[in-house]
């Protein structure tokens, strides 16, 4: 069964065409991540799915039901917001139960679900506190708990980790992944962070300028990007682009090389002066100024390269990507 299917969804704000013919499917239990640079329409798409914005045209089906005209609360969804959006006048218990009370669930059901959610998220000690008395991480857990208690057909996450610091972000990311396994619920997750996308997703939807650029599993997109944009967006450090003519004269295409596919090789075809070195311990990032373009090279382990060195590198031609003038992948 499909948890969500979008069919040619369009959204315009006046003359501004924000979403252009978006079609995609989310299977039951699937974790789908919408990723793209800011302003690509990913949050708008999520709000259209939630029913907070009306689609200008196209069909939105949740669990097979057409929901274009259904208000957000009746769509069987729950949403977690970037700014947590907890109700400031209610304590944690009040925040968790409000939606259930609105649905007129019996008291026993409400209590059972709150107990279940607070056990999963470790919220028991905070149930009587107010949002202003909680830390950022705790607030985000309450926001997630508020979504869990509703037992929705579809979870929507709108950049839920952007307001957390780096360490907490990683912990919460793992918590969300665990939660997905435990609940085996369908989830849609919006982020601009490609690490979150790669680590969490069953399926990634890459968006740019309101269009779907490519849909696929993280490794599919990484190993087989459809175009220059997807190739450059996924992977950190991002892919290097250089005119293919620099390595094989006369070739009109653009070549893409992942930083980790370039290796040290004395007398290799890629040569230049090192302009900067980042020692990360586990690996070393080298910025190389070649005749045509700066290249980022990721070497595993520690290397004693210093800026100003002249170094030669080689690459595996089988792992090079080629793009045509229009940015589409050629081979």
């Amino acid at each position: 069964m499909t948890a969500l299917s979008l069919n040619n969804v369009n959204k315009s704000f006046g003359p501004v065409h924000v979403l252009k013919d978006i079609s995609l499917e989310v299977e039951d239990g699937e974790f789908v991540v919408f990723v793209g640079p800011s302003g690509c329409g990913k949050s708008t798409l999520l709000r259209v799915i939630a029913g907070l914005e009306d689609a200008s045209s196209g069909d939105i089906r949740i669990g097979g039901e057409l929901v274009n005209q259904t208000p957000p609360s009746k769509r069987g969804i729950a949403m977690v917001f970037q700014s947590y959006a907890l109700y400031p006048h209610l304590n944690v218990r009040g925040n968790l139960t409000l939606a259930l009370k609105q649905e007129r669930q019996p008291k026993a059901v409400i209590e059972e679900r709150v107990a279940e959610a607070s056990r999963m998220l470790g919220l028991e000690p905070y149930l009587d506190r107010y949002p202003s008395e909680l830390s950022g991480g705790q607030r985000q857990r309450v926001a997630i708990g508020r979504a869990i208690v509703r037992q929705p057909r579809l979870f929507l996450f709108d950049e839920p980790l952007s307001n957390l610091d780096a360490a907490l972000r990683m912990n919460t990311r793992i918590e969300i992944a665990n939660l997905h396994r435990q609940l085996s619920a369908s989830m849609i997750y919006v982020t601009h962070d490609q690490t979150e996308a790669m680590t969490l997703a069953d399926k990634i939807v890459v968006l740019r300028d309101g269009r779907v650029e490519q849909i696929g599993s993280p490794m599919e997109l990484y190993n087989n990007p459809a175009n220059r944009f997807v190739a450059g967006f996924l992977g950190a450090p991002s892919m290097n682009f250089l005119p293919a003519a620099a390595l094989s004269p006369g070739d009109p295409r653009e070549m893409g090389l992942r930083p980790e596919d370039i290796r040290l090789q004395s007398g290799g075809p890629i040569a230049g002066a090192v302009s900067h070195v980042e020692q990360l311990g586990g690996d070393t990032n080298v910025i190389l100024q070649t005749a045509t373009a700066p290249l980022t090279i990721r070497l595993f382990g520690q290397h004693t390269i210093v800026p100003g060195d002249d170094v030669q590198f080689g690459y595996d031609p089988a792992r090079a990507y080629y793009f045509g003038d229009d940015g589409q992948r050629v081979s």
């Binding site: 609360s73 949403m79 959006a85 109700y87 939606a99």
Partner: protein, 279 residues
């Protein structure tokens, strides 16, 4: 910041300036208060002297109590002020919410139209208002005043509140929508508590002019049973003779309720004035 604070000369200068300003601002009130407790002769002989055993007199307050129904005036003023404030805040906040929250054709034009009243004094329309009130039979009723003051207060209320409503997090309102709250619940339970400082600001800005107004009570509701406090006090001011004891006593008493309301709102007010500037 710490440097400025450690410089004691600066601190003294700052406090000196503030205290000076307080003295200047409170001086007229002080003069009114002390003179309201003096005999008529003492008021004119030494207006700045404190009342002593000789000059102390409650004659002003006695006159006020005897002449006319002062408590009724008081009550009228209070009803008019509180009811007008209630309607200004209620309708102002609702309009502001609609303008800041919903996208509809003519949103900006509607906002400008509602703000227009800030620039056009309502008194220009006095004759038309009077005609309207006569036609609808509202002359000499408190409703006439309440309606006019509500109209007078709305433009500024809508203008100030819509700015503040725009700052209320969209996520919060959307969370409410997803949880199945109605738009009214979202407005009353989520948004209004968050703009309370702005509401207090609007309330204070509107309260003082309404409480002190003489113009509309004089024109729209001069009957004995609908007189407001300011209008009631005017009976003591004659063209040739003015009963200063009574005037000063009436004014002293009129300060009280405004003071009480202000104290209630002031904590919120300061937050309302500064929050826009500091954040």
């Amino acid at each position: 910041m710490t440097k400025a604070r450690s410089n004691s000369l600066n601190t003294y200068a700052m406090h000196g300036a503030l205290i000076l300003y307080v003295l200047i601002a409170l001086f007229p009130v002080f003069v009114i208060l002390i003179n309201s407790f003096k005999t008529r002769k003492a008021i004119f002989r030494e207006p700045l002297a404190l009342p002593d055993a000789d000059s102390f007199s409650m004659i002003g307050y006695q006159t006020v109590m005897k002449q006319g129904d002062f408590f009724l005036y008081f009550q009228n003023s209070l009803i008019v002020t509180v009811a007008s404030l209630f309607f200004v805040l209620l309708f102002g906040a609702m309009a502001a919410y609609a303008l800041s929250e919903y996208r509809f054709r003519g949103n900006t034009l509607m906002g400008l139209y509602l703000a227009l009243g800030i620039m056009i004094p309502i008194r220009i329309g006095t004759v038309a208002i009077l005609e309207m009130m006569v036609a609808s039979g509202l002359v000499n009723s408190l409703w006439a005043l309440i309606l006019v003051y509500t109209a007078q207060g709305l433009p500024l209320a809508v203008f100030i509140l819509s700015e503040f409503m725009k700052q209320v997090s969209d996520d919060l309102k959307n969370a409410g929508r997803i949880d199945g709250l109605s738009e009214y619940t979202i407005f009353f339970r989520l948004v209004l508590p968050l703009v309370r400082p702005a509401m207090a600001t609007v309330a204070v800005f509107n309260m003082i002019p309404i409480w002190n107004d003489l113009w509309f009570p004089l024109i729209l509701a001069p009957a004995e049973e609908t007189k407001t406090l300011t209008l009631g006090s005017q009976v003591f001011i004659g063209q040739f003779v003015t009963d200063w004891n009574a005037v000063l006593s009436a004014l002293s008493m009129a300060i009280l309720p405004a003071l009480v309301l202000y104290v209630i709102f002031s904590r919120q007010l300061i937050r309302g004035i500064t929050s826009g500037a500091v954040k």
